[in-house]
């Protein structure tokens, strides 16, 4: 399998590796650092990150639209948003470099990634939306919970 060529650069060519083995250790270092950052943030939970970074906009259709577009910053705690972004970054490097997605054809890559990403986003959106709605019924709908 001599024709098996690996693409040896990550960060869009910012870091180049000499061999595939070297790239693997480089990616390991990256993943370890990200995990360490996550754990440290998870233990210390800095106060500034425990609230959403933007307050919800009030009044009018424009405000509602802005609230929808910027919803990750308005309705999610900054800390959780950081965790989610870091997780996606880790998932990217595991798939691209450990599973060699970087070396597959573009069509196979899209086939796998787009399908999964689309369906997962769809499912997560529906379920979280519904969960939030049921929560509002519990809190505002005269349902007694504390007994």
């Amino acid at each position: 399998m001599a024709e098996h060529a690996h693409k040896l650069e990550i960060f869009r060519g910012l870091i180049k590796f000499k061999s595939n083995t070297q790239k693997i250790w480089g990616v390991l270092l990256l993943l370890s650092v990200i995990t360490a950052v996550e754990v440290v943030l998870g233990i210390y939970k800095p106060d500034i990150l425990m609230v959403p970074s933007i307050q919800a906009f009030e009044g009018g259709l424009g405000a509602t639209l802005l609230n929808i577009i910027l919803s990750p910053f308005i309705y999610t705690k900054s800390l959780n948003l950081i965790f989610i972004v870091l997780t996606v970054v880790k998932a990217y490097y595991i798939t691209w470099d450990f599973m060699h997605m970087r070396d597959e054809t573009k069509s196979l890559r899209r086939l796998v990634v787009w399908t999964a990403v689309f369906l997962i986003c769809y499912l997560v959106f529906i379920l979280l939306q519904e969960g939030g709605y049921i929560e509002s019924v519990y809190t505002e709908g005269f349902i007694k919970r504390d007994f």
Binding site: S32, A91, I94, D97, V124, I134, F147
Partner: protein
Amino acid sequence: MNSTTVSTGTEETTWGGGNRPLKASYGKMMMWFFIVSDALTFSGFLAAYGFSRFKFIDYWPIADEVFTHVPFLHGQELPMIYVAFMTFVLIMSSVTMVLAVDAGHQMKKTKVIWYMFFTIIGGAIFVGSQAWEWATFIQGDYGAVQTKGGNILQFGTYKTIGGEDVFKRVSVEEFAVAAYTDRTQHESKTGVWFTSEGSLPTYTVNDVYKGLESNPNILVRTQTINAEGEKTVLSREESLRQLKTNGKRYVKGANLEANEYGAPLFADFFFFITGFHGFHVLSGVVINIIIFFNVIIGTYERRKNYEMVEKVGLYWHFVDLVWVFVFTFFYLV
């Protein structure tokens, strides 16, 4: 190139399978398709977890108060440390796996054997850690009282640590006293033969109440998360009243029906998601062992390619990938 052992002589024609769509071999592409469908199964679980959590957003247990244990470091509160260790072990075994694949491309049999061996060891450490984590979770450590409404009341006291008043949990076993009780276990010999019940909880609510009464510094903590993101601690009078009027039974540890950490769904999802993932790791280890022996006896050496290692490698990395998400959504967020 071709990994099939049976040859029909028509491999190179289109209808004989000579056409390789997406420039990937059949096995590798099918492994990718399996991974997509399995990813959807896992995201179904995690999305359902998110659904339930959003439903009880103000009452959900705080994960780093639950998973604070590390083996051999008894009685210390070290949130996240052990899970982080498990994550690292899994990532590390992913690395040895990809090194095995790389060595396979270069047809270096001894290297493949060693890297596969380390991968299997890593997987075994992970499964073992998860078993330990389950055991600790099921056993529990403080105990709590479940109310008639299904809520959990935990106990603790304020301690001054570094000039700050910090709420520290107290085990029910430390303060409950035996009170008078006429509740006996219903056995089949005392009634009709086909009805009986499991063992009674260690303490009755009355035992716990008497203990709480005689320890004026102990307070009740409810499931409700307050504005500071912490669980609400009740006043002394409210603690006694809450336990007296609403307490139903003493709960220690966790099972599918009740747990001392909070909403029953929390434990259910814990068992379901980490269990399903652990099962994947276990089957991954078994498949890796099979391939490991195949490498040793030289099957792939004779085939002149190690693509099989690459295919199980894909599965193994996928297991790691799922854990990255479980780690975030179950332990961190």
